[in-house]
């Protein structure tokens, strides 16, 4: 495998898919964030922590502009990061993935990773807009969320490896094993300790748009990496001989 080309294909795929993700968030999720932060501001005024003054709103507009613009850059950074993980898994599993071309293989792997390291953890610990979440529990929530992602991802990989031992219905064994194991973990892991204080209509709308935006990333990375792999074939090495 040509190392530099492989790295370029993976990193460029992740960055472009991340740009798509950040842009999707900007269009789909941002209105819900604005609404939630609006509620947060009203709570601050009501509690006396802040005053509804011109100075407050000038400062508010300043950091919201920084946050909104940052969303696109953060999308590129996070997309490149998750894309790097995806690239490692793709390189190791490409020959085992079903599909007669790299785009199909890329999309199949993306759908497996979307399911195991995003959707299943999301069902247990769904995304929340601002106004939901206590500062004192942020470390605990981060540990729970990351742990669940890691358990789900590694167990999916483990059951896939384990299924190779069995003859015949390998896929069924891997799927059933993963389903039973992750269901047990789902029940055993503690719930998010924070109460939801924002209107459920807002929270649910935010969560749905969040899923749509994350899904746009996984579709994009599968397509883009597959396309670039087809085009540049980083696994192929060209050797020149002189007769």
């Amino acid at each position: 495998m040509r190392t530099s080309l492989f790295l370029l294909v993976v990193l460029i795929s992740g960055a472009i898919a991340g740009l798509i993700w950040g842009s999707a968030n900007f269009v789909l999720v941002e209105p819900y964030l604005d609404e939630a932060i609006g509620i947060e501001n009203q709570n601050l005024f009501a509690s006396g922590e802040e005053e509804d003054t011109l100075e407050f709103w000038v400062e508010y507009e300043g950091y919201r502009t920084w946050q909104k613009g940052g969303q696109i850059l953060a999308g590129v950074i996070l997309g490149t990061s998750i894309g790097a993980l995806y690239g490692i898994v793709f390189a190791f599993s490409r020959n085992s993935l079903p599909g007669n071309n790299n785009i199909k293989k890329g999309l199949i792997l993306a759908s497996i990773m979307w399911f195991t390291i995003f959707l299943i953890p999301f069902l247990k610990y769904p995304a929340n807009p601002p106004t939901v979440g206590e500062g004192e529990t942020v470390v605990l929530r981060a540990i729970l969320y990351l742990s669940f992602i890691a358990i789900s991802g590694f167990s999916a990989l483990g059951f896939y490896k384990l299924s190779k031992v069995f003859q015949g219905k390998k896929k069924l064994v891997a799927l059933a094993g993963y389903a039973v194991f992750i269901s047990a973990i789902f029940l055993v892991m503690p719930e998010n300790p924070d109460e939801i204080t924002a209107p459920m209509e807002l929270v649910n709308g935010f969560r749905i748009m969040s899923v749509v935006a994350v899904s746009s990333f996984w579709i994009a990375i599968g397509l883009i990496l597959g396309l670039l792999w087809n085009r540049f074939k980083p696994n192929r090495e060209i050797s020149t001989f002189n007769d």
Binding site: M1, T3, F6, L7, V10, L11, G22, N25, V29, E30, L33, Y63, W66, Q67, G70, Q71, L73, A74, G75, I77, L78, T80, S81, I82, A84, L85, G87, I88, A91, F92, R94, N95, F118, F122, P126, A127, N128, P129, P130, G133, G135, T137, V138, R141, A142, Y145, M209, S210, A213, V214, K233, N235, R236, E237, I238, S239, T240, F241, N242, D243
Partner: protein, 71 residues
Amino acid sequence: MSQSRQITTSKTGVPIIAIVALAIVFVAGLFIVGFDQGHIFSVVYGEQAFEDLYIHELTHDMRHAAGFPCH
């Protein structure tokens, strides 16, 4: 007279250096967007970085949208 021949071979091995580089990108990117609360800039700005939270604010909206606990 000598002739040059090119042979294209498909190799399944994944270079260790590429895996290490991608693993570093993965961990660093995840930390920056998902978890930094001033830690990175504190290397340069000290305790003040935990007050300013520049990276936290920059990644704030993506952090919420991607499901990471933010605050």
